[in-house]
Amino acid sequence: MGYKIGLDLGSTAIKMVLVKNNEITWSRKVPTAPGQEALAMELVKGAVSECGLTEADIDQITATGYGKKLMTAAGLTVDEISANAHGLHLLSEGRCRTIINIGGQDLKVININENGRIADFKMNDKCAAGTGRFFEQVARILDTPLETFGELSLKADEPLELNSTCVVFAESEIVSLLAKGVPKERIIKGLHHSVARRITHLLGTRYASKEGDIYLDGGPSQNKGLLEALEDELLMEVKVLPNPQFTVAFGATLSVN
């Protein structure tokens, strides 16, 4: 008894956490594919089995993310922006005031108050520029694993000035740069700065946190090159928690409170 499950059904990955007493005891993610509910239920079964639990031990399943309404097994659903706010508030021990979340197909900037409630937020419009999908596409064009982007970016001295964060137009720009012999490291660093500028614009002056901390989360937040570029553009320290992909799923379990 006393376990809660948070499921974040995102556009690129389904993330699940098992929580007891506000502590994550188990977490896992799988890529999003058709049959999201079945994939999510596999995660649930995996957690129950690996942790030696029975279904009776689970008090509540809460779903969030774009696929939340597909989860018929979920007793509750919560929007991912609120879940993100709740999750980061608790995990940052109340220090977070601004969240930059990079998801598979969206960018979010969320201001939260001292109680972890949403004060304000902004999201990108119908454009995948600078999102997780953008990074995936660039990795394909560069024929370079996404996991190595951070390391490669840090090796470059100066970022290349890139014009486009558009998934479509970045391709022609990158192909042209590669043809000119520009090293991948500089291109990747340039991309990180380009995305960081986009986030800075989204953040705007009103969102710049005067007190409290700024946190980056979502899958791409593990990219140290992006983090460096973001700090450089914002001229502020940006923090990243361990396992930043699970913040939203964790927050979903708290939202019922």
Binding site: Y66, D79, I81, D120, F121, M123, D125
Partner: protein, 418 residues
């Protein structure tokens, strides 16, 4: 491809689009009629919208020749007294844009792009009836250029086209005098159009009284919305259909529908919906607002609460006095964002927040609708400085962004209730 082949291809395209256009409208009609709060009294309004907006249909229904109106600053009472049916051009269908989009800028008001596409469908037409004339107050850039765009899009209708030059500074005496001159020019235009050389002063006063009476009924509907009894979806179905029938019949139908709105929605919080117009069958945003649990109690959309600017009262019953009263009401009383000195519009949105009539503003911008887009910056800043909540949602007529819009609205709701 020779001209014959081109015409044949265009004809086939129009037929194909017309079928899809009908489907798009039918889907929304089915959605509306399957709502648990649908009642027979609302069928009149849904059916008006479903029956289409071609001039022949409107003319047959009202028994009056139809004049297309591009914006709401031309006094409706003046059309009425000349025996004409004014019909404000709105475009609400996604699929109709396919007939106009190839000729138009990529980023353009989807409402007018759709309207231009729908004009093709009208002309491909059904009974061959055309609008008797076009009247275009020079409001936003898109409307200012509408005649050019009609030509570019191949809308081969060539009725008399009358522009009303709208002074964009409302509070200057010179502007008001200038606008009164425009109203006189409109009167001359309508006189020449109809062959009615002189209208009786009493007839104009009667026409104004008719619209006063309609406003009285409409304002009761607005009150019901303010109190949370009239759901926005039905409110907007009613207002969207305003130009589709004779004003007296429409008014009578509204009066009949008023007693339906007795139940307050369980959910909240209350919000003010501002921004670009929303028009049938593209009611996407209204359904999303409901799904997110936001209760729209006020709005300032020109397809909704601002569909006509209110009753015109006048002490000076001379013809000049009546025309002057109309000119003032339709110019100074207009809250379109196209005006430059428009603090009244911003204050109109902010003032009710001070009285706790709503908890936040949802600002709807159609991509390419520049006046609203620009104005949203001022409004956001003013509201947030006062500690009120604001969200801007930019969208178009596609449905692909529904999920992301819903996510924002749900989160916005959370921010309002916490």
């Amino acid at each position: 491809m020779n001209i014959g082949q081109q015409e044949n291809r265009q004809g086939r395209l129009i037929k194909k689009i017309f079928d899809r256009f009908t489907d798009e409208a039918a889907q929304e009609v089915n959605l509306l009629k399957s709502r648990p709060d649908f009642r027979p009294e609302l069928e009149y309004f849904v059916d008006l919208l479903a029956a289409g907006r071609d001039p022949a249909t409107i003319a047959n229904r009202t028994g009056r020749k139809v004049v297309a109106l591009m914006c709401l600053q031309a006094p409706l009472e003046l059309f009425h007294v000349y025996g004409l049916q004014p019909f404000k051009i709105f475009g609400g269908t996604m699929v109709a844009q396919r007939l106009s989009a190839p000729q138009l800028p990529a980023i353009m008001c989807p409402m007018l792009r759709s309207a231009l596409g729908e004009l093709h469908l009208d002309l491909a037409g059904r009974n061959g009836e055309k609008f008797l004339a076009w009247v275009a107050p020079t409001t936003c850039d898109w409307v200012v250029k509408i005649k050019d765009m009609m030509e570019v899009c191949g809308v081969k209708e060539d009725p008399p086209f009358h522009r009303l030059e709208l002074p964009h500074l409302k509070d200057r005496d010179e502007s008001q005098e200038r606008w009164l001159e425009e109203i006189y020019l409109l009167k001359t235009f309508l006189s020449e159009l109809t062959g009615i050389k002189k209208i009786k002063r009493q007839d104009l006063a009667n026409s104004m009284r008719l619209y006063q009476k309609t406003w009285h009924v409409f304002s009761r509907l607005i009150d019901l919305k303010r109190q949370g009894f009239a759901p926005l979806v039905w409110f907007m179905v009613i207002t969207n259909s305003f130009f589709f029938d004779d004003v007296e019949k429409w008014s009578a139908a509204v009066e009949k529908a008023l007693p339906l709105f007795t139940e307050r929605p369980k959910n909240g919080p209350n919000v003010f919906l501002a921004g670009s117009p929303i028009f049938f069958p593209n009611l996407k945003m209204l359904h999303l607002l409901e799904e997110a649990g936001l209760n729209v109690v006020m709005d300032d959309l020109c397809s909704s609460e601002r569909i006509f600017p209110g009753a015109v009262f006048c002490d000076d019953l001379s013809e000049h006095g009546l025309l002057k009263a109309l000119a003032q009401r339709y110019h100074q009383g207009c809250l379109c964002p196209t005006f430059s000195d428009n603090d009244r519009r911003i204050n109109n949105i902010i003032a009710p927040a001070h009285k706790d009539l709503y908890q936040g503003v949802v600002f709807h911008v159609l991509k390419g609708c520049h006046p609203f887009d620009l104005e949203s910056l001022t409004l956001e800043s003013r509201l947030k400085d006062l500690g009120f909540k604001f969200i801007k949602l930019e969208t178009d007529y596609t449905s692909e962004d529904s999920q992301t819009l819903l996510t924002r609205l749900e989160a916005y709701r959370s921010s309002l209730v916490n």
